[in-house]
Amino acid sequence: MLRGSPGALVTGAAGGIGKAVSSRLARDGFRVFLNDVGKQQEIGLLASNIADSGGCAVAVEGDITQEAGIDAIIASLQSPMQAFIHCAVAPLEERWFLKTPVENFNRQWELAVRAPVCILQRILPAMLEVRRGAVVWVLTTATVGAPPKQMSAYASGKMAALGLMRCLAAEYASKGIRFNAVSPAFTETPLTAATPAAVRELYRKAIPMGRLASPEDTASAVSYLVSEDSSFVTGLNLPVCGGALML
């Protein structure tokens, strides 16, 4: 364990983006706590790989939608966190609103909003004591402009998270805690691997840079937002989209 290294908690660490974010923050010098649910082997392997590369990571498996799961995760954190990156996301189903069960909305909102609320209410006090901390949500370009159709459960959860991020950015700006978000375009990950090639090509053509996002693109943006280089940045929703959105 690297003594004195700042701690960073990453949810959804076994996912494509979560893995890239975790690896990048470890290279940046963070002691990374890797959380996911039902992916103990994957996050264990990721922790080993990070260690093999000279970094420091600890797997902290637990269900962030359950109080007991969050309690277990918090108990596993070996020091106060200086960064929290929320990458966890529920699977995305394309359905028209009237054909979307309320349970789908509950699941998306629980992961996007309730889970980070519960985690932050436990880790924020320690950040406030040292007046230092950075929180980043991984959202989606669907939070900017008109959202795609058939994604009301997923997109509304992400937009609610965006609202929460902004509220917290306003409340804690004077206290040294920064809250931001990154909104990646369609990203090549295991979560999106089943998307038909024709649809992926459509998304690719809509991006001026002519390629889909990689998990490392988002990881680089997260790295910036938790670093001192962004010390005057809070409340930002940063699109990572190859020019598809120009704000």
Binding site: W96, A198, V199
Partner: protein
Amino acid sequence: MIIDRINALFQEVFDDPSLQIGFETTASDIQDWDSVAQVKLVLAIEEVFNVQFETEDVAGFKCVGDVVAALRRKGASDG
């Protein structure tokens, strides 16, 4: 009838149970028929009729009638 099965797919893709297409229906006849809907329609038709269209086939679809003709060439029947 092939056209009836395609009509059902249009109703699903556009979420409009009242939608009625014809052989002459084109993208300009349905407001939400954009490139995303086009891809979803093609994928749905391929799945339901168990066919695979080539890029040249899809590029040649100017109206629903062109799709029906392509399906018939691939062995689909009105029976």
